[in-house]
Point group: C2
Chain length 342, copies 2
DNA sequence: TGTTAGCACTCTTTTAAATCGAGTGCTAAC
DNA sequence: GTTAGCACTCGATTTAAAAGAGTGCTAACA
């Protein structure tokens, strides 16, 4: 059996209709819904074919059909219009100057959730590839030093270093100078272990304290940025019966959003691909508890190559068209926005 | 009509029972439940009295009674045992060294939610009364300075200051010295406007840039710590039919927890009172959408007078006894914990 | 006078049965 | 290849009946 144009049209009509209503759709509906001018009987025949081919499913005898994951996949891959939507409200709100990146991200994700009515998330742009601008060690008291690391884009990182014996001002100055000359301009990735050993040698570090400090600084530099995730609209999950009927699953989902744990999984695949926007239908995503959801992610990029991800999570009968459109324009708008702000 | 001991016992029995089952409780149940050895008929008479007095409510004719807000209040105020519960698991988990205050708080709130099965929140200890340890201004590039502010307890705050013209090293050194001599040891509250003006004068700030910098630093110092709130267990709301049946309200509640917005309201009253643990029943709390909930908050205090709040939000038929016990021991345990960690 | 047994009454919940209705598959005719 | 028609299926809705929980009231009892 082969997918011909008519079958595709019918499949599309079924999915479109199901997206709207959430109810299984029957042959009569399609007969009227499309402009193919076919009777319900004919549609029935085609639907039987489509079912055999695995694109649609019958929840029980004498119910209409609903799309299978395969059906959604076909729809997303081949039939979605890639129209660029208006995002007037979105733009307007985002244009208002927001001081901090954090606030901006929170604003964006909130807006996205409100606009799409799905649970949404956004990650802060990763800065691990950013170059190091400068490092500063300062003395807090006899037992503590403060390390401040400034990266490109003026992203700042602090760490308090415990020291076992006091360090005098002169040593500190020397250390500062050395660290800056050696490390500034490098990306986090480039700073390797051998480099650190080199630094220690250069510092003539027979004294344990200096070695200690260098280790701590190295650790501070290479420490995993914990991926900051902002979420909004988890409560939208309750709006879709197919997700909220099983209240245990729904609770689990909501919890995932509240705690922001495990959401990285959603995003990780998204970075390396060449496609900017990805759609995961049903069990295509590997996060436990999200088998009944679809996930759409988009990567965005700010100046300086900082990349982050925006995503939305909703029921499989998601308005893919709208979501993809929204993410598309949002994605391209974010960079402009950030430039304006900074 | 007056509340005598027997009525109180019966009221207590009603409430206890209702807390467990969530169902209206009838006279026969109480007759067996208490050791008063009274027949259901007698209990019925007493219940009629209690209803007249406003402590219990009959949802509809021929249903049992449920406690009114007034009933809960009476229960909480007079009848709750203040036993100190075991928190073995809690202590054990918390004892595991956790590096950051943030992680600790997240751990605590998660544990609390798990233990009580209610939605939980915790605020980071407020540091506005902490003394300033030192300030450091550094040059990032020609347009940006970095302000690092270290407070007691090694709490660090950063701010990037935009400057309109470059500042040379010498000026920076001078500024650093001045800021530190003048400001260190003071609390955030003590640093007033007049002080800032004084600083500017002292800096001989005819040059606009210096004045600019001082302003920015002052702003950075006095900027409201945004109250960090950590939450967990919002999904527990779904476990209580009286909260989750109205899915709109439930969604609103969950959203409040996810966004962590408006939760401050819950907490604000808690700080100034003398009572460490407070119970708000039903509409006693002023957060919109939480009329059907009860809220229990406890303030905790870390070394150095840093205060924060722990709270739980649940249905009115909350296990007040357990919750208060848990919060009590948690509250007293937090300081020890923090000391060990730091 | 306080307590209790008993009973009629009320109202919700549960259960069962009946009916409805959307949708199908198949057949036969166009 | 398309369509009308029809018998059939099976979940959903409606309806009715029964069950159950609990009350208020009255009258009897200690």
């Amino acid at each position: 059996m082969e997918m011909d144009e008519r079958k595709a049209t019918i499949l599309q009509a079924i999915i479109r209709n199901y997206l709207e209503t959430g109810e299984p759709v029957g042959s009569r509906t399609i007969s009227k819904y499309t402009d193919l001018n076919l009777s319900s009987a004919t549609i029935r025949n085609e639907m039987a074919d489509l079912e055999e081919m695995g694109y649609i499913i019958q929840p029980h005898t004498s119910a209409g059909r609903i799309p299978s994951d395969k059906g959604y996949r076909f729809y997303v891959d081949t039939m979605m219009e890639a129209k660029d939507r208006e995002i007037s409200e979105m733009k307007k709100v985002l244009m208002e100057r927001q001081d901090k990146l954090e606030d901006m991200l929170k604003g964006v994700v909130k807006l996205l959730a409100k606009d799409t009515q799905y649970a949404s998330l956004i990650t802060a742009p990763s800065v691990s590839r950013n170059k190091l601008k400068f490092i500063q060690l300062s003395r807090i008291d006899d037992e503590h030093l403060l390390t401040v690391i400034v990266k490109e884009g003026n992203v700042i990182k602090n760490k308090v270093v415990d020291i076992t014996e006091p360090v005098n001002e002169e040593t500190l100055l020397k250390l500062n100078l050395m660290l800056n000359t050696q490390l500034s301009g490098m990306t986090m990735d480039e700073i390797s272990l051998s480099m650190i050993t080199g630094l220690k040698a250069q510092a003539g570090s027979h004294s344990g304290v200096i070695s200690e400090v260098i280790d701590a600084v190295a650790e501070a530099i290479s420490a995993e940025e914990d991926l900051k995730v902002y979420t909004s609209g988890a409560n939208n999950i309750l709006k879709y019966p197919e997700l909220s009927d099983n209240s245990e699953k729904a609770g689990h989902l909501i919890n995932t959003f509240e705690e922001r744990e495990g959401l990285e999984e959603l995003i990780i695949g998204g970075e390396d691909g060449d496609e900017a926007i990805k759609v995961y239908i049903g069990s295509e995503n590997k996060v436990s508890g999200m088998e009944d959801c679809s996930v759409v992610t988009a990567t965005y990029e700010l100046e300086g190559g900082m990349k982050g991800t925006i995503g939305i999570v909703g029921p499989k009968r998601m308005d893919y068209d709208k979501v993809v459109g929204t993410l598309k324009s949002l994605r391209s708008g974010l960079d402009d926005l950030y430039k304006k702000d900074n």
